[in-house]
């Protein structure tokens, strides 16, 4: 929306701000799994290698278009979705990218809701070659390459309490994000679908929990996985992301109704900006 259009629309709407949904997380937030199988083998996924770059980009664009962030943004009545989900990313990596890119962003012209689908806790991150570099500890559902990474192998060797220690890290970064959102008057909710974290939930800042528990995982993976899950990669397909956005919406309606926009939308736009870029500092 151009500035002039925004001013006119803003005037007509009695000074109400546009509604911006920011989503942060890993592949589940990036929308991995929403393939257009009309031009892609049904038993393949983008990690298989040897895929034409145009097809790869087309499929990724489908992920971004059809994942839960846009579906939820529309249900909530928001004008804009900024999706920062990035496949393979870690909790600390998510926060680093958000701070690197949006620390100085002027959020004041929007009513902002930020939803962070926390990545699996076993990942961590460092800056490397000016980029945020996410590393997966070789433990559960790991890519074979993770077993070759010396840093991830060493981390796994050193760590004593793989669940507890990595969850402590996650909670630390989650609290940092909460501080940021409180300062910037950003509404904030988080979600975590990893079952091993549940027994530690009493240590998480539950005030900001989205309110969706095991019932979503049960529906996706137990009730009708053939309908909701893409077998080629294990992520939800478009049906899966639809049900995810429904669960999120219903929970927000129940627990945070003030975050839903009942006014008519005059426009809806979305952007994916999940891939960390060079720091690009001027020296």
């Amino acid at each position: 929306m151009t500035d002039l259009k925004f001013i006119i629309w803003n005037f007509k709407n009695g000074g109400m701000k546009d509604k911006l949904l920011i989503t942060l997380g890993c592949s589940y937030t990036e929308g991995h799994g929403c393939y257009d199988f009309s031009i892609f083998p049904i038993d393949k996924n983008i990690y298989d290698g040897g895929i034409d770059v145009n097809i790869l980009n087309y499929q990724k664009n489908k992920f971004h278009e059809l994942g839960w962030p846009n579906k939820l943004g529309k249900k909530l009545g928001y004008n804009k979705v900024l999706n920062l989900g990035f496949g393979g990313s870690s909790t600390s990596g998510n926060l680093k990218w958000f701070i690197q890119k949006y620390n100085d962003f002027d959020f004041s012209k929007y009513d902002v809701l930020l939803i962070w689908w926390l990545p699996i806790t076993y990942r961590f991150s460092f800056y490397n070659r000016d980029l945020i570099y996410n590393i997966q500890t070789p433990i559960k559902n790991s890519d074979p390459a993770d077993y070759l990474n010396e840093l991830s192998k060493s981390y796994f060797k050193f760590i004593g309490d793989i669940d507890g220690d990595t969850i402590r890290e996650q909670i630390f970064y989650l609290k940092l994000m909460i501080n940021f959102c409180e300062l910037k008057n950003i509404n904030f909710l988080w979600y975590n679908h990893d079952s091993y974290t549940k027994k530690y939930f009493k240590n998480y800042p539950m005030k900001y929990w989205i309110g969706v528990g095991d019932e979503l995982n049960n529906e996706l993976y137990q009730v009708n996985p053939n309908y909701y899950i893409n077998k080629s990669c294990g992520h939800p397909n478009e049906n899966g992301y639809e049900i995810i956005s429904n669960y999120f919406y219903n929970s927000i309606k129940l627990n945070n109704k003030h975050l839903i926009n009942d006014s008519n939308l005059n426009y809806f736009e979305w952007e994916w900006d999940g891939e960390p870029q060079d720091y690009n500092l001027e020296l």
């Binding site: 701070i99 961590f124 840093l151 760590i159 309490d161 507890g164 300062l183 020296l283």
Partner: protein, 259 residues
């Protein structure tokens, strides 16, 4: 007027390592080789005589909370802050946080429920540290980006709480690079200066850290720079009573299953 609180963050330089109690060395020359009774005595001395309490007095503050921990990293220092005092907003105080930044290549993880620091400056590196070095493209630049990330976060935390924040580096070379990379109002000085005294008598012969005279030199320079660049942090009505101070730089050992 509210009383003034100085919170200090950093590594051994902030913990006060180097201010040895020479009457209680137990025949040892370094604190990290000493058995517990002597070790505890030395650390009490470090905490009492380092730059944080000296600066607190010069600024006319009422209380100092020193979160310095020897060997810690920027991320570890922020974790210590979160563990030990983040739930207290100190609304009854005017708060200034002074973060003396350490080597940016240090990093931290929770290991067995406790914050563990990894440092690349040890003579013998463990596998984790070696792996980090081997992964890094540039041991100067990339770790500084990490450090800047944590400083930005701390700036947000302090802004959220209406606290003051000042940062500087104890390493002249890294500090210069840091200030070239990141422009912010929270720098103690626009240009990096060497915070360490060139006088060999200002250093501990045991570990090379500043001794009492060295920390006095550091705190005086900090005070002078604050007076010059950030005079709003000097208490116009200095505390006339004895300084209330506490060291809270140790990581909590979390029980398994508890954060």
């Amino acid at each position: 007027m509210k009383p003034k609180l100085l919170i200090t963050m950093g590594c051994s330089m902030t913990e006060g390592v180097g201010c040895y109690d020479l009457n209680n060395m137990g025949g040892y020359s370094q604190y990290n080789k000493m058995p517990k009774p002597y070790y505890d005595i030395q650390f009490k001395n470090f905490h009492k005589l380092g730059w944080p309490n000296r600066l607190g007095r010069k600024l006319g503050y009422d209380k100092v909370i020193n979160l310095g921990q020897a060997g810690s990293s920027a991320s570890g220092q922020l974790k210590i802050f979160y563990e030990n005092i983040s739930t207290n907003f100190f609304e009854d105080y005017d708060v200034l946080v002074f973060w003396l930044l350490t080597e940016p290549s240090r990093f931290s993880f929770y290991i067995n429920g406790k914050i563990k620091a990894y440092t690349l400056s040890n003579s013998e590196l463990n596998k984790m540290e070696l792996a980090y070095i081997s992964e890094l493209n540039d041991v100067n630049f990339d770790p500084l980006l990490e450090q800047i990330f944590y400083v930005k976060i701390m700036e947000e935390i302090c802004q959220n709480r209406n606290w003051g924040l000042l940062t500087t580096h104890w390493d002249m070379y890294i500090g210069k690079f840091y200030k070239e990379l990141y422009k912010t109002k929270t720098h103690l000085t626009e240009e990096q200066y060497d915070i360490l005294s060139p006088d060999v008598n200002h250093k501990s012969p045991f570990c090379g850290h500043p001794n009492e005279i060295g920390y006095e030199y550091i705190s005086q320079a900090f005070y002078d720079k604050i007076k010059l660049n950030h005079p709003q942090y000097i208490n116009p009505h200095p505390n006339q009573n004895e300084l209330d101070w506490i060291h809270m730089g140790n990581s909590i050992k979390h029980k398994k299953g508890l954060i």
